[in-house]
Assembly symmetry: C2
Homo-oligomer: 655 residues x 2
């Protein structure tokens, strides 16, 4: 390799250890609109010459870079930040160059101070300024430079002449027109900028078919509309509906996952497709497209986004099976393979072969499904079991959809090995389910949430915490009753900025299909249920309080600001806090993890993080009980009786 070719590749100025950066730039990091993106990097070169650097950024697809100067703050570490105001994919990079003028100027300052300036030293400065001249774009600045050079030439004393270059005006002027012809450039990195809802959202899941006020009749979209005020009243932002498409008839499942469905059993909505259509059709018993549109609009008016389920699997009756058998796995005998985990068989489901020969048509068709619902106003999708589908497919699909509909949010319903879950976040999913449902102790909650919110994961994986789902009724809820429901709700809603519950939680429903199972008895998954929502809601008011606390406190709307604090030796108490970047809003949460017994302890309160001194009292206002306490210093006492109140959600203010 020629030396110049080598030099081109191995740049003069080293730019490295850039944050944020995910896997060497292989994947985009995530932010939401309004965020300020802070970028840091090690930037340095050999020798003692001064360097300058700029952070450059733009919305992808636009041509002009915007830029902001980077500043060195410590040990060759530089920083700058830029705001992301558009819901779009951004790119950013760093450019660094030798600041020849400032290097010379610094030397000149020392020479002038030491009264040791040679005429040649001055001429070097003249040459640098003359070289900058063609880069100057403002006539005013050109005039300033001409005056400077004229004055220098008229000044016989080299010390005096050198001194003319040292003013702040000259520095500013030369900073404006640097010689960047030998710049070093970092690779280009990407950011997905989502709407705030991708980070801050409270989800509520229900099955439309179970929303009928009359027992025995299938609920419809119209019935769902009637439920919206109740959902809004509790303070939810997202209403997630399991698949609303026609349900397969072959090998349909009966109540409680039985294999012998009766003629009137509705089947599992995840067995998608029958003679009425597939992923772009609506199950007729739920209503029409017009009804659906009305539901979406009515929800929107109440500030609720309707989320659909995107489950890529087909019942044997799905239209795809006839039109595109090649999209499935074909057995040697020519039949299509149903889902299996030998020796278990799931004969009501045909999985898709993402890498089949006709994948171009398959992937395009699947994308058109999402486009179809986006065009009907859907902005949020919960994706069923994405880890059993092709990872590259998700990376491709999400990028394509967000190019056309940038505000779209995808929640990954993946419960699998940790690295596979992370890879879905890297592939572009806006949010992901987590292991939260199975983390109940102080140590495991602290460890897991620290990983989610403080490790590198915070840049690409937004953990959506669900205390229950139609698939998971944890033993903790079965055993702990309403106090357990309350405390798990506070944890989900305040540990993460995004969480959700499955309908019935507000009533404390907790009967499993059998002892030792995490499945609900008579689950909505396999049958139409009827709930009398006019009965008093055990937890409705409480949920409303918690969601109100989230809406009124910006600190709870951030994801990566979670910090854990001490709770003495009582490991039944979990203490944590969240603070806005400007420290204007500070929330401290204490949760009694024990649904059975009152717990008490001195807790460690990080008053210094809020800018208070050791001797300054501060006020903690409990948003759940309304009580206000004056506290001071690090150690303060709390006692929480689960029969009365499972947690404090304190807003902390200057006392």
């Amino acid at each position: 390799m020629s030396i110049d070719k080598f030099l081109e590749e191995s740049q003069q100025i080293i730019i490295e250890s850039v944050t944020p950066e995910l896997d060497g730039g292989r994947y985009a990091v995530k932010r939401v609109t309004g965020d300020c993106v802070e970028v840091q990097a090690d930037i340095f070169r050999d020798g003692h010459d001064l360097i300058a650097a700029a952070l450059k950024y733009r919305v992808m697809g636009t041509t002009e870079w915007q830029e902001t100067p980077m500043l060195k703050f410590d040990n060759d570490r530089w920083r700058a930040e830029f705001p992301v105001m558009n819901i779009a994919r951004y790119e950013y990079t760093i450019e660094a160059w030798n600041d020849r003028f400032k290097t010379w100027q610094n030397d000149m300052r020392k020479r002038v101070e030491a009264n040791q300036v040679a005429p040649s030293d001055v001429l070097e400065g003249v040459a640098l300024v003359e070289k900058a001249f063609p880069r100057i774009q403002s006539p005013h600045h050109s005039g300033q430079v001409e005056t400077l050079l004229k004055t220098v030439r008229q000044t016989a004393d080299p010390v005096a002449a050198g001194g003319l270059f040292l003013s702040e005006d000259v520095t500013r002027l030369m900073d404006e027109y640097p010689d960047r012809s030998f710049s070093s450039h970092y690779r280009t990195l990407e950011i997905i900028v989502d709407p705030l809802l991708a980070r801050f959202s409270a989800w509520y899941e229900f099955f439309p078919r179970s929303q009928s006020p009359e027992p025995g009749r299938s609920g419809t979209f119209v019935d769902c509309i009637d439920q919206l005020p109740r959902v809004a009243e509790m303070g939810f932002d997202v209403l997630y509906l399991p698949p609303i498409h026609p349900i397969g008839r072959s090998n349909r499942k009966g109540p409680n996952n039985s294999l012998d469905a009766g003629p009137h059993d509705p089947g599992s909505p995840w067995a998608i497709g029958n003679e009425n259509g597939g992923h772009k059709a609506i199950e007729p018993s739920l209503g029409t497209f017009e009804d659906f549109d009305r539901l979406v609009k009515a929800a929107e008016k109440l500030g609720i986004a309707v989320a659909l389920d995107f489950a890529i699997q087909c019942s044997p009756d799905h239209p795809y099976v006839k039109s595109h058998p090649e999209w499935f796995f074909i057995r040697p005998d020519g039949t299509i393979k149903y889902a299996e985990n030998p020796p278990k068989k799931y004969q009501d489901i045909y999985p898709i072969n993402f890498y089949c020969d006709n994948r171009e048509a398959l992937w395009t068709e699947l994308m058109s499904v999402v486009q179809f619902w986006c065009q009907r106003g859907i902005k949020v999708f919960r994706v069923d079991n994405p880890h059993t589908k092709a990872l590259p497919f998700w990376e491709w699909l999400i990028a394509e959809i967000k190019r056309e509909f940038p505000e779209t949010i995808f929640l990954a319903e993946a419960f699998t090995r940790p690295k596979v879950m992370r890879s879905l976040g890297k592939a572009g999913f806006s949010q992901s389910y987590t292991y939260f449902t199975w983390r109940n102790g102080r140590a495991e909650l602290t460890e897991y949430l620290t990983e989610l919110c403080q490790s590198e994961m915070k840049d690409y994986f937004r953990g959506n915490l669900w205390p229950n789902t139609p698939d998971i009724l944890h033993e903790f809820l079965q055993e702990g009753g309403l106090p357990a429901f309350r405390l798990r709700l506070v944890l989900a809603a305040t540990l993460s900025s995004t969480y959700g519950i499955y309908s019935g939680y507000e009533l404390g429903i907790n009967t499993p299909v059998k002892a030792g199972s995490e499945e609900y008895l008579n689950s909505d998954k396999y049958q139409i249920n009827h709930v009398d929502w006019s009965q008093p809601h055990n937890l409705g008011g409480f949920i409303r309080q918690v969601n109100q606390a989230r809406r009124q406190n910006q600190a709870l709307q951030y994801y990566d600001n979670l910090r854990f604090y001490q709770s003495g030796n009582n490991d039944k108490l979990l203490v944590y806090g969240k603070t806005t970047p400007d420290r204007a809003n500070n929330v401290l949460v204490v949760v009694n993890l024990d649904p059975h017994q009152a717990q008490e302890s001195w807790i460690g309160v990080p008053f210094w993080e809020w800018g208070f001194s050791e001797h300054e009292p501060y006020q903690v206002h409990d948003l759940l009980s309304g009580a206000i306490y004056k506290w001071q210093g690090e150690y303060n006492f709390v006692r929480l009786d689960p029969a009365v109140q499972p947690a404090h959600i304190f807003v902390v203010t200057k006392g």
Copy 2:
């Protein structure tokens, strides 16, 4: 982008978090011959299909990859290792593929166990084996496969037929010929494999001109030859000589860095070049090329490598100044710039302009200097102030030289900002000077050596520890006297596998040029000194003991195996250990960091790391005193009196 193009770039199987890997593969990591390189990676894909992976490696420039299977050991983490036996640049990468046969075989095993095998299930296996057939290279294996297929076809019962595929023989056979047509490939990474000397070396530095037995006369290479047995006797492997080239006459420095050199003052050897030549010439008063060659050969016979200094700077009298003025910095008045740190001037030195227009000729000429000395048998270079030269130049030069002379070792004499020092290691320097000389307390030694030997730096930065150099006589040695010299030597020689001392250390010479200075009085840098080496060496025997301990204990020859242990509350005692990878050799070192007072404490001994149980006595044999103690369990007592012995270097063996 078409879907297939996208799929090509975004591979089916994810391979990430590979170790070792430096800055995403931008730089090579380092090992020495005989090492086993362990490579780990996260390797996984969506879904439940089984995958397989291979670690591939080769000497760069050769065409055939060698490979070894990787094995999953935990949570989608895989590992494998390969030996590096050549002194060469290696490359390695990872390939992973879907193991379709094993996936099918696993399912079949479950089907057979459940007695639920469909004929179609068997046919899938037949198809997979038939597809493998063309890949089979051994006729014996082809025969086995034919027999298998024939037997399967003759077996009517699907359960029995399926069972035929489950034998270990079939597994091994199919493992041998996997379908790798849709493999995922990781990027190619590089390793510089050095000779052992790059990791394990004891350096001794002296000025040839001070080696004369007659006061007043300049020492010669012949005098150096006479000193070799003394150096070998102390146990050193590398004899490093400051520049041996003709010394400039313009603005020559006099004794103690004075500006008024007398006519007979020899000047600083770092002001290179005069009418007798430059970097490819020898200062005539030192002798001839023949003398030099004799010195190199004589040293080699004693197991000592002669190291030269590569200092890229020129005196105003260097031949380059006339032949290539364009390689220097030219002032506007046409003169060449001398080195400056305004208002300080170093008029005896002209720095080089590495990015000058004629850089192609400059870089090539500088490389030819190193080649010149390599051709004369020099394998070790100490590079003067490399951080003030172009970083890309070093990356280019070291790679070029090591392509031709792979065994060459470069030591970076850089004392500058930490990230610049690291970048020299990344650029290819085999070893580097460190801040060790200024680290004397327990906390700072522990922190710094942990960074050097246990952080990512261990893969590319080998810290060479020097208790003194001609430029640094630390206050600790000035104040602490011989006990300080002893303890600093033990630290340097046992904390790192590579260390060095500057001549005079063995006599405890510690007079500074003035109070508060780290410069030696009457430094060899500016004058010819005469030392009567026949006088008793205060520390010669001690140094010999320590170097012998290093040679006889493999554990001290590794760099990244340093571990620190507890020394109770006595922060004057530093406790650390080194163990070979096979645990065959275990060394425990205890150093009293206080040169003035005896110190004692219970220390924490990590008996479990050596495979001993709590109740098992073990033997510690002090290589300095010869004493042998029986110890047991974690806590044992030590007392070290600096007047008697500054340290224990224990070899630990089963009691």
